[in-house]
Symmetry: none
Subunit: 361 residues, 2 copies
Amino acid sequence: MGTTIDLPLDQVLVGDCIAWLRHLPPASVHAIFADPPYNLQLKGTLRRPDDSLVDGVDDEWDRFPDLGAYDAFTREWLTECRRVLRKDGTIWVMGAYHNVFRLGSALQDLGYWILNDVIWRKSNPMPNFRGRRFTNAHETLVWAARGPESRYRFNYAAMKALNDDLQMRSDWLIPLCTGGERLRDDKGAKLHPTQKPEALLHRVILACTQPGDVVLDPFLGSGTTAAVAKRLGRRFIGLERDPTYAQAARARIDAVEPAPEDAAAALPSKREQKRIPFGTLVERGLVPPGAKLFDRQKRWEAVVGADGTLRCGRAQGSIHQVGAAVQDAPSCNGWIFWHLEGRDGRLRVLDELREAIAREE
Amino acid sequence: MGTTIDLPLDQVLVGDCIAWLRHLPPASVHAIFADPPYNLQLKGTLRRPDDSLVDGVDDEWDRFPDLGAYDAFTREWLTECRRVLRKDGTIWVMGAYHNVFRLGSALQDLGYWILNDVIWRKSNPMPNFRGRRFTNAHETLVWAARGPESRYRFNYAAMKALNDDLQMRSDWLIPLCTGGERLRDDKGAKLHPTQKPEALLHRVILACTQPGDVVLDPFLGSGTTAAVAKRLGRRFIGLERDPTYAQAARARIDAVEPAPEDAAAALPSKREQKRIPFGTLVERGLVPPGAKLFDRQKRWEAVVGADGTLRCGRAQGSIHQVGAAVQDAPSCNGWIFWHLEGRDGRLRVLDELREAIAREE
DNA sequence: TTAGGCTCTGAATCGCAGG
DNA sequence: ACCTGCGATTCAGAGCCTA
């Protein structure tokens, strides 16, 4: 175990990721994104129907002697990641059918708590040239908290907004990284065999971090994680073994222009907004003491007390308690249950009044 | 190890599947479909926002003391399945994130050779009621051969035909089993908590067997595998622990009319509708966070957030919501209201960008 | 007859701040 | 660390009823 160093923010560090991770202080990063070697087991070469050669992944870093060696490697870096992850941080690990079952099992064995598996559906996958299997049109991301009790961050409202006001699902349709986004060398060949699309990282980072948070990528590769983190106003730490990749990533990151601060923030969910006690509405005269509140169908009528309590028959208490009591329900959100009658006879839900106050403050 | 019996074709056998498997002759079935217990670990009760209770899976058969016990169980039945599987046969195993990584790892460890992982995308999944995760909108099927050298069957042309003459991809969009297909008891309650849709088994069986082949299901449950196998002119062997489920499955299977031998019983493939959320344009960099949008006359200017929301003065929300707010209109089609300014100063309506993406997918 | 509204339900590891 | 109580949270599809 080496000596601990200060958190090397916004840097690409060249070297073995496990060694680097051991130097980082514990519980120091908010999120980790890891796209480890897939342990692809290609046999021989693959040709398209027109006899052209498929440029598969056959790099040295993707070769392991057997599954046991791959498992040992996986457990080692995932162990160090868990140490470095903050108590309430989350990790994303991605893979394909060759390795993702090893990754998921290792996460569970090491004490992580899986929150979702997410499917990256490729809109433009490589076809299956031999016609011997289904077109491999997706990869899998596993999203996990450090443990079952983690109070992790999930920017629910932002994800919902990103999906036209429907809950974000666990299947994401995103094209492969091609065209101008793909890094290439002098000869126009792709620089990295598995460069991930920025759209994928955009969604990942936006889902589970806020501006200023630290995102670590132990297999930085072409630098997609760091580039998107910078653009979204997050800090990053990138680890990469190969100096050529690291250098290309640095150049790529340097060219990124961060988004304006207010654009990078995720839409705050209601939970994160400032709490307004119902009594405030009474104090400010928006709901005078003695006013009557109704549910939407006007089945019940309650009277407002000067202290912000409601009374409805025998039930007395907060807007939530009385709402729950009259419905005989275990709980109730009084803000959206109770309504005030306007002069025109129209019912206005309390939540509207609350939002008017929230905007003022 | 018990004595071997003749292959009990087209029967539902009641009892422990591992015990039954041990009695079956080796290398005797062409395909196996297994939907084992998922080992869900539900803690409390879950209510919908309207306070109704969610009927979760808390059956005794889904409870295991710990992951180790689940792994041991998994390895045991998968070992027997491999013995019973013909040399060139294939197996389908399905699960969700709770268990599928254990299943996939066990398959690999036992010598099976994974061919694909296939995603069952649910068109109508249950939402995430607490807003704490992504909507769990899929399950995973692992398709594997008995070993790396297996000369397995894959009905490439049938799958392609089933998919409007495009190669069948690894992500399948299929609705949940509901309505008339769902088995119910006298009181109208669902008979089995996890009955699978016949459309799913249709595709599975059609992909890897031919008429007359034997399909084994060690966790038959409500009998979907056997019913579809019979309809498609395949033989089946169903193992089921619970006599009630087995009895219901038998009745269901008896009612199935086999398709005519030459019938190309192809389900109409479902062309996917293309709904493009505005957030997609942001993620893909077509509209960067912080970009400014204008209405056609440039009366208003709004700023784009990283989550696809707009902000214009105090109004924040979707392109539609903010468009409506600034005009003080009840509603607004943001796609044709907002414009992006090009480098040449010309305004381009968002709808043009959306159509560019829709064409790609 | 039909259109529209209301109800019900589905493999679910489903709070959190403040005291 | 524990306890209290506020108050946040749902989509698609089938079935049924009413106008």
